[in-house]
Amino acid sequence: MVSPVLLIVIPLGLAFCVPLIGMVSKRFARFVPVVACLFNLVVSVQLLPAVLSKPIVVDLGGFGAPFSINLFVGPVGILFSLLIALAGFVVSLYALAYIDKGPTTRYHTLYLLLLVGATGVVLTGDVFNLFVFFEILCISSYVLVAYRGDKDGVESAVKYLIQGALGSALLLTGIGLLYGLFGTLNMAHIAVQAGSADPIPLFVAMALIVVGLGVEAAIFPLNAWLPDAHSSAPSSISAILSGIAIEVGLYAVVRMVFTVFGASSMLSFLMFLGVLTLLVGELCAFAQSNIKRMLAYSSIGQIGLIIFAIAIATSGSITGGFFQLVSHTLSKALLFLAAGYMIYRSGSMDISSLEGMGKRMPLTAFAFAVGAFSLVGLPPFAGFPSKLLIIRGALADGGALLALLVGLVLLGTVIEGAYFFRVIQTVFFKKGDGETARCEAPAIALVSMFVLVALIIVIGVYPSLIIGVLNSAASELLVRADYIGRVLG
């Protein structure tokens, strides 16, 4: 069996190779991320059965559990790494055609490093190591947002950087407090002691960490960077940021709250926060006329939904939350990719400039529609089973409060449906005034989009394909003792 550490190390090594290869030939350098993601995909799939039967704990350096950094490759980790590899693979395929100007070698290196950072965050079992990988993820995304070097890109990158750096500083302070309190950085080790610790310092540490991670996770008051960054980045990067980066941030928050702190009393608050995030995101998206900004706000809404689902903290709802996460990654990536070429061809990000795109680029527009349908949660697309699971989970215990929140969530979904369908109408049914010549996206970009389309439909029709992973991921989050026991032996 391959070691899961390769999931991080091999892409990292390849990323370091990219500049070298780029010196020889820029054309070859483009393919490195594709190869790396493919590798990760294969390894993740290969690891999957073993992980599902028993989580793998990888000791780095071989000094024993609390002393050396360890990777915890449980169902959650493997789920995320699969997702990252998959989205990364598709988007890197897309980028082969889409990224044709500027310092492309640097783009591909940074892109790969972003994915490495994300993979590291989800696999690591050490708080500080998480911070380090988190920084890799963040810093490379700052750069990639500004990749085109235009006015908007740089502006949003600066704003993103300031907020991100502030968040990281708070996170680091929190980690420092944790170390001061417990004298260890290992998550499981902290988790063991967290129960007996003084509640107020523990809470302050948790608040700092959750706020710090929440900036990247786009929880409601902390998400002001997101619409700017996601809308000004190149579309391939928007896809990855929306599809991977914020989910990874969310993973970190969830891991902290559930596993490290075991803070079950925070969950109802998180639930409210999730619904609030959802409503704010959807309402803002509803008022947008810029397509990418709309998609960005919609990501905020979706994240809110996922937080809501996970914070309910029943096995069913967490499964639903993870399912939503998967479907959001696939659909939002697809939406950004499709929108990317439509914007590229029409030359404007205004929704009204997409008129007639259904005729000019039918396949791309079709892919966009599938993404939108899935995100809104219509059958038979992947978003449907996820919404079903979440609401089933939320309604299962029959509380009036949860029912009310579910009502608000459904309201948000309606708003979401409204603005997505408005775009679909514009794309397909509004008569464009100008160009009518066909200008389909390049083949490689279409291939990448249709991989996602196929996945969305297949998962939508056969949700049982992934439900096993999601179920064990949910139980990993819920059963802290398992995690601790597995790491500390």
């Binding site: 600066v158 704003k159 300031i162 907020q163 502030l166 968040g167 708070l170 509640p199 107020i200 809470f203 302050v204 608040a207 959750v210 706020v211 929440g214 900036v215 008051p221 902390l222 002001a224 960077w225 619409p227 803070a263 009393s265 608050f269 309402l283 803002c284 998206a285 509803f286 008022a287 947008q288 706000y297 005729k359 349908f373 219509l378 059958p379 038979p380 449907f384 089973p385 919404k387 079903l388 699971l389 609401i391 089933r392 309604l395 029959g398 029912a403 579910v406 459904l410 309606v414 708003i415 449906g417 409204a418 369908f421 109408q425 397909f428 049914f429 008569k431 949700p463 049982s464 439900i467």
Partner: protein
Amino acid sequence: MSLELLMVVALGGSLLTYVLGRVSSRLRNGFAVLVSLALVAMVASLYGKALHVSYYEDFLGMSLVLRVSGLSWLFAMTASTLGCLSVVFSLSYMKGKERTSFYYSMLLLVNAAMLGVVLSGDLLSLFIFWEIMSWSTFLLISYNGGPALAAGMKYFVMSFVGSLAMLAGLLTVYGSFGTLEFGGVAAGMLSASPGYILAIFVLFGVAFGTKNAIWPFHAWLPPAHSEAPSPFSAILSGILIKMGVYGFLLIIFVLVGLRNFMALGADGLPLHTVLSIVGAITILFPTFMAIMQNDAKKLLAWSTVAQAGYIILGISFGTSLSVAGGVFHFVNHAVFKALLFMVVGTVEYRTKGVRDLDSLGGLIKKMPLTFAVALIGVCGLIGVPLTNGFVSKWLIYKTLILERSPFLALVALFGTWGTILYSYKFLHNIFLGQLPEKYKDLERAPMTMRLPMTVLSIVVVLFGVLPGIPLSVINSIDTSFGLKPLNVTLWGLASDTGALNTINILAAVFAGLLIVWLVLKSGGRKVSVDQADNYAAGAAIPKDKYQYSVGFYAPLTRMVAPYLKDFMDSFYMRLAGWVGGLGSGIRRIYTGYVGDYAMYIVLFLAALIFVQLTWSPW
């Protein structure tokens, strides 16, 4: 005939139609007709069977089931027949339009989804097909662009609210009973508390009511029906919105059970009374709206809302007579409303898209057959004896009077008079009066349009003269609901409290016609004169001006228009405006100044710490 095969043919046919459309449009058209015909045949062969198949064992732990019962057979049959006729009608209607492959494929998809809805054996697959139906309908409504976009949007949002309510309802049901199969749910409902049943009923009722466009959920229907392509309007009005009726029948009689249903609600105001009052409002208000319309399809659309009210009124009484009336009226409405939409479609097709009632007229000379079928359709709509609409309305009225609900009966009967007004306006302004000059060279409707219209008009008369044919099917549905069977004869209904015998009426009418015709024949000679050769008190008859159609009911309109505000619609529009305004307001927190953003972060942190230090809730 297995149900899975039926669904595979329906769904696969839709997909394949699109693919074939890429190859050749003739092939595609033929294939589409073939598929829809095959569906009719397959559904017909299911008659009287009771099948129950689980086609998807484990969808997130729930099993999906297809089943056929008497009720679902009736709906499936109506749906597939109308679908087939609509496809045939489309053959010429859609000629030369763009994106026809998309159109046909969506039409078949809607058809398939409707079959799925009525053949579902559990609530989840009902919901899945319901949603597929909703979004494919949205795409078809939006198909024409322009004003259709707003119509589509309104449809989608309202229908989406409905289906999400249904989702919440069905998941609550799942949470309490652990199953979604109709049988299991019904068993669970037997012991459920009335408050619980009421909540479930309301959640489902919103979904079904929205689809069925009963007041106050009607706002989407008029624009959607008028802006959709006409063959699809026929489906939309004829069968698609009746999925709501199916839903109501399902939940009242199959899931909740009639006895539970009648016991729901407060003592003074039981739920079924509320439902029938809603039905009455749905009759009254849209009827007057229809009278005031100047767009042929909008007129028909409002009329659809009003007729839906009759159906709800019938169902809500829950007696064997009223349910039979409601269900029969559904079938009849499907037939004659589809027919009338096709008539408008034909006119629209020949006049290149004109459906403004103020600018048409006199087409009877150019399209006699179309006029004849339109007349039959209108008679059905009004409920003239010897057409199908009469029988079903008779059943409903009779229930209302015998159940001592004279006010509801008043509304229903008065609604019929309103129906006459707008139906006549429809007929007169399109077909009667003077023919405008520009339509002098109008051709007759093409064969593929005349065929489905003729078929439907034959059905209108057939069911009117021999109501026993459909009523025996409906009677079996009634008995399957546990209602007292009716004494159905081929010619109508035998009963102590006033029988219906269409043979008597038929004989009387024929006798009357014969006598009068003979009298007329015996009179002096008759000469045919030109249509425009009118009595004009010696004045010359101006071309194109000798027509009274603008403001046909102007005095009445002047009188009632101030009281006829569609305030539900304006309420929804204002609500949408509020949501937009709220969005624009909220997004202002993203001020663009990064200092503020950093402030939010610190503020959030400080708030967390402050709350914990002061109240320590966590």
